[in-house]
Amino acid sequence: MNLLGLEWFNPGFLLLLPLAILPWFNHNLDKTVAWVNLVPIDPLSRFFNIGLKVLSTGVIAALILALAGPSLPEQKIERIGEGAEIVLLLDRSRSMDDPFAVKHQAAVVSVGGDDSKRNVAREYLTEFVRNRPDDRFGFVFFSTKSVNLLPLTYDKEVVLATINANALGKGLSDTNMAEALLSSAEMFEGQAYRGSRIVLLVSDGGQLLSDEAKEQISRLYKEMNLSIYWIYLKSNQAMTLEESEEDSLLWVDIPERKLHNFFKSIGVPYRVFEAGSLEAFAEALAEIDRQHYQTLIVEETLPHEPKTDALLWLALLAVLLLAASHVYTFWGVKKAHE
């Protein structure tokens, strides 16, 4: 609960606060005298009397407030860091269940094993995220419909948990690349520009995009100052995204190449990493690591700060004086009775 700009852990205790006025209605410690007028008017003792009541009220109030557990709410501060804002666009299609980087066709049949592209991508992305403390990550759910599942966050635990979850189970039958690319760009909408913005696509295939989608993507990516990094997980070692002399006929005009050409043509910073082996994948991530150490403003959350101790100090001071005064009274009364 929020009150007076503080968060209260046990706000229920605040209901006890009226008890703090009890000392003012209290005669437990009064000495009955035969006739009040016998008591001389003594300004000093009046002062002490009121002082003791204030102290009592103070200690009761301080203890109740301390029990209610106030703390300063979490605060966001900005500091200069080095890093980037990265939206992860992980292909969750069925083909990602296939083994990564096989050398010959026969090995393709072992679906969903430890060496599946999905698992490999998870391992390396985990490393990547761990090594980039200042980066902010977002995660796009990539299916027939795309959803900005995890808005940009600094919470590494959450990002890693999302990456790990992505490696579980089988892939989805339909994925829509155009939607996912647009959705990733939307992640930055309404966000202050802090430094480098990257959409990191990890996929093992391309898709043909409609002209309308292409137009939208290129407009949005330019507008929002995005870079596209594509880690292309090859199924076949020999295939390259760039056309070459030794191309097999099968590779001409495949969607991957079309997508690659499209990314090259839209005039935003674009890099492709063709990961044909584990080493190549690791290198691709290391390369991104080196590339994108730009200064950017990093938002950091300071955990909430308990304010209980201040109240306890107050209570301590008041109760110290009260105890001293009551012990003195006790000593005085004892003396008088002797």
Partner: protein, 311 residues
């Protein structure tokens, strides 16, 4: 009981000194180590069309089952003890898709709710709703997560296409191997189901002729015991309590129907989970200050209202 003036003065002095010591202890006593029991839970939220039926209530307002599921899940996060972990998954078609593995519920509360807010019917990748199979996939995938989470499956139990009791999909795991709670949502009355289009927008409701009304396999059989003609109501939906109970028994889960207090669900999760102890720093200040407060109040309570204290 009446105390003499002198005794009162003596007692007050003693109480004040003890209170002083207690406040000092509250300030300076080192934290002690204490074990709390924490659990890991994986919340699977049904996002199929029947969850759009508006027959759940949040704060007195009638909302869709999905909205209720999201709100109740969020409040459950708040009621889980810090140190407990929560993950998120959605269910559509015939499978549960895990979206976030369990993360610490207090530190990551913000991101957990951010993700939860995104859950929407248009994330569904197909327009069928095979609850039992989805529970089975959730169980299979939970086994791959370390430590194995307790599954909290929030659904109305509406199977589409319908299932005949005798033709339940086979569960190949061991019941109770993965612990779980099925949380039923939805009312008693059969209500029309809003229909979502390709874009996930609601467009009218499912008509009586849009859906199958009988188990596909049962309808192929000629024997009348499994193939009893029944009312064609599969285009309408209510919370399928007996079905969810059967399903829960089959996989060794608990079934909680429309819980009202998140705390109760947390208790149910704790009861079925294999909780693991986690040592936390426990500050005793609250105990010391509470006792000090109680003692000081003893001095100032208006006893005079009840008994004569003057002498």
């Amino acid at each position: 009981m009446r105390l003499s003036y002198q005794k009162r003065i003596t007692l007050t002095a003693i109480i004040m000194v003890v209170a002083l010591l207690l406040v000092m202890a509250a300030l300076w006593m080192p934290h002690i180590q204490r074990d709390v029991k924490i659990m890991d839970a994986l919340f699977v939220i049904d996002i199929t069309d029947s969850m759009n039926v508006q027959d759940a209530t949040v704060n007195g307002e009638t909302v869709s089952r999905l909205d209720w599921a999201k709100e109740f899940t969020r409040r459950t996060f708040l009621d889980m003890p810090c140190g407990a972990h929560a993950g998120l998954a959605i269910f559509s078609e015939a499978r549960s898709l895990i979206l976030m593995n369990p993360v610490e519920v207090c530190n990551s509360y913000h991101d957990l709710t951010q993700m939860l807010n995104q859950f929407d019917p248009h994330m569904a990748w197909a327009r069928s709703s095979e609850v039992s199979k989805a529970v089975y996939t959730a169980i299979r995938q939970a086994k791959e997560i370390e430590p194995e989470p307790t599954i909290v499956f929030v659904t109305d139990g509406h199977e589409s296409p319908p299932l005949h009791e005798s033709l339940f999909p086979k569960f190949d795991g061991k019941p109770g191997e993965i612990h779980g709670v099925i949380v039923g949502v939805g009312g008693e009355d059969l209500l029309p189901i809003p229909k979502t289009n390709e874009q996930g927008e609601i467009e009218g409701v499912w008509g009586v002729n849009d859906v199958m009304h009988q188990d596909v396999y049962a309808s192929l059989r000629s024997d009348t015991t499994t193939n009893v003609p029944k009312a064609r109501t599969e285009h309408l939906s209510s919370q399928k309590k007996s079905h969810l109970q059967t399903l829960a028994d089959r996989v060794g889960f608990e079934y909680v129907s429309s819980p009202t207090k998140p705390g109760k669900l947390v208790d149910a999760i704790r009861k079925v989970s294999e909780t693991r102890p986690q040592t936390i720093d426990y500050d005793l200040y609250a105990w010391f200050s509470a006792i000090a407060l109680a003692l000081i109040l003893l001095v100032y309570l208006p006893y005079g209202w009840f008994i004569r204290t003057d002498d």
